[in-house]
Subunit: 345 residues, 2 copies
């Protein structure tokens, strides 16, 4: 497996480097994530070029009499999740989930005391854990995401997402969603769009909270997946999660999964990293009006600032491609009046 290959959208480099930051334990906050769409549909956006580009596109494809009117059925918009709808620093949130699960499961696995990468991980020796390379990552993913039914996994994720806190903000991970993007989702849906998530994150991980947090139902969530097996247990059917990758929904895999799940080319796509470049290319190379947007993380004070050299959410080749394809690049610092529903970091 080379440096660019990923598990559940987490690159090996990102995964290993993220070992450096394990979450602490802060206070509980309730989630409040609805967009204020009275009057101005995008109140958390400053009145800059990015906001104007979004509004101009939506009006162009939805206004009766517009020569570029797009039928409702074809108003498909796709959104990356990590770094586009919610934050992804200091590590992908699903990775924080996996590490929490290793710690929670350790008492049931006394053999982990002598077995890498678990032994090092549980002692806080991240360098030792990463010595196992891709094999180590595969073991962490399968130990925490397989060997249980889909229903059992949903409950585990639900329990985690409603209690685990981000190490720096002390907020629930599901509170660390971008208020301006919630407004875009609501604005598009209010204009007859279907809004899909197309993310490198795990499909069954995201579905647990996507409807409550983003208003996106399970059937509009597309992501990476492990294989499933249909089995009978005590005369009742179950779906077992197998320790085998089914699909990696990243880079060129995103247009492939869009084709498989949606079967139509989106007319608008939103991302923030090189992993989204192929999706934006696929979307904006179609005929008729098209819209591509990249969230550029430029605000170290209120959120995080990172791009070309980041191990998490690297934005390098896609940033170069933006002008060629005519994509809108959001400067988070200048374009967003507000970051999270609760404010900022």
């Amino acid at each position: 497996m080379d440096e660019n290959k990923t598990f559940f959208g987490v690159s090996r480099r990102a995964l290993l480097s993220a070992f450096a930051a394990l979450p602490a334990l802060p206070v509980l906050f309730p989630v409040s994530a609805s967009a204020d769409i009275a009057g101005d549909p995008l109140p958390s956006w400053n009145d800059t070029a990015s906001k104007k580009a979004i509004v101009a596109f939506v009006e162009r494809v939805t206004k009766q009499g517009s020569p570029d009117l797009v039928p409702e059925a074809e108003r498909i918009a796709t959104f990356d999740n990590d770094g586009t709808l919610w934050a992804e620093q200091p590590m992908y949130f699903q990775l924080a989930f996996a590490l929490d699960r290793v710690r929670a499961l350790a008492p049931l696995h006394p053999e982990w005391k002598d077995k890498e990468p678990f032994a090092s991980l549980l002692e806080g020796d991240l360098k030792g854990a990463r010595a196992g390379g891709e094999g180590a990552i595969f073991q962490i993913v399968t130990a925490t995401h397989a060997g249980m039914t889909t229903v059992e996994f949903e409950k585990i994720v639900h329990d985690w997402i409603t209690t685990a806190k981000h190490p720096q903000t002390g907020k629930l991970y599901s509170e660390m969603i971008y208020q301006p993007m919630l407004e875009v989702l609501a604005y598009l849906r209010g204009n007859g769009f279907q809004t899909f998530i197309v993310s490198g994150g795990g499909i069954d991980f995201m579905r647990v909270f996507a409807e409550r947090v983003y208003g996106i139902p399970p059937e509009q969530v597309v992501g990476s997946s492990g294989k499933l097996d249909f089995e009978m247990r005590d005369g009742k059917p179950i779906l077992m999660k197998l320790p085998e990758l089914s699909f990696n929904d990243d880079k060129g895999g995103k247009p492939v999964q869009i084709q498989m799940h949606i079967g139509r080319r989106p007319i608008a796509s939103f991302g923030n990293s090189d992993g989204d470049q192929a999706m934006l290319e696929w979307t904006t190379s179609g005929s008729g009006p098209r819209f591509g947007l990249l969230v550029h993380h430029t605000d170290a004070a209120r959120e995080w600032a990172y791009d070309r050299k980041s191990a998490v959410g690297q934005l390098n080749t896609a940033l170069d491609a933006a002008s060629k394809w005519g994509w809108t690049v959001v400067d988070m610092k200048d374009d967003w009046q507000k970051i999270f529903p609760f404010g900022s970091k």
Copy 2:
């Protein structure tokens, strides 16, 4: 590959035996397939137990004040396609497409003259073609379903489905859809259901006509699929169809694909063969009100009569399972007042 393995939902046995019946060339008819839902929502159903069971279920889960009211978001219904929404005799219609394609492509492949299974096939020697077993089938499928872009394939299917005729009725294949099932689709959608196809047929094959013929948009069509590759051609992105099976959406694969694509367990499922048994089991073993229905092909005069020993659409173990699980079994001869929109065979 054993006898039960399938390609695009077509079992080896069915595929080989279907070689015996190649389509002839009849006249063109326009398609008219909308269900009459004024007053009685199911006018093509006789007033028998099957119709009553459908109506009772829909009222139970949708009537305000019903203790079993199901929220709209959870009103998911899944339908098999071959033998459930359209006919499948004397061979799966997608197989007729594949054989037509072999004949159409033959002039571009002079080497087929000396290459099995094509040589035998083109000479009408079906016994010779089947001598190659599963390898032969794989070659027929890949020669006709891969090596082109998704857009190119859609055009080929569109041209075929709007012109090719059924050998016995002389109707377009897309006219050989069941009027009673069109009414069920419309009735469910009128009651807040989402209606998905979950078929062993090829996902990109069905999507070409499912919206026009059944009112089911591409994102609600689930099926078998080949692998895709995202590539750049002359600076523009394309999706190439590769000669490799990605997913076989049959038997236990149906609940798996339901989980992958929809992410919710359906509350109602409709099928007609053993390939649908796992889907109906998965659906009807959930908690709360559930509905499973099997179309039993019992009408040799107006359609076809086949079940336990049929090479196409075998209905054997699922028929035995129906009473255990409480599924409704439609007796096509007694329950359906009308078969196709144009009448019957």
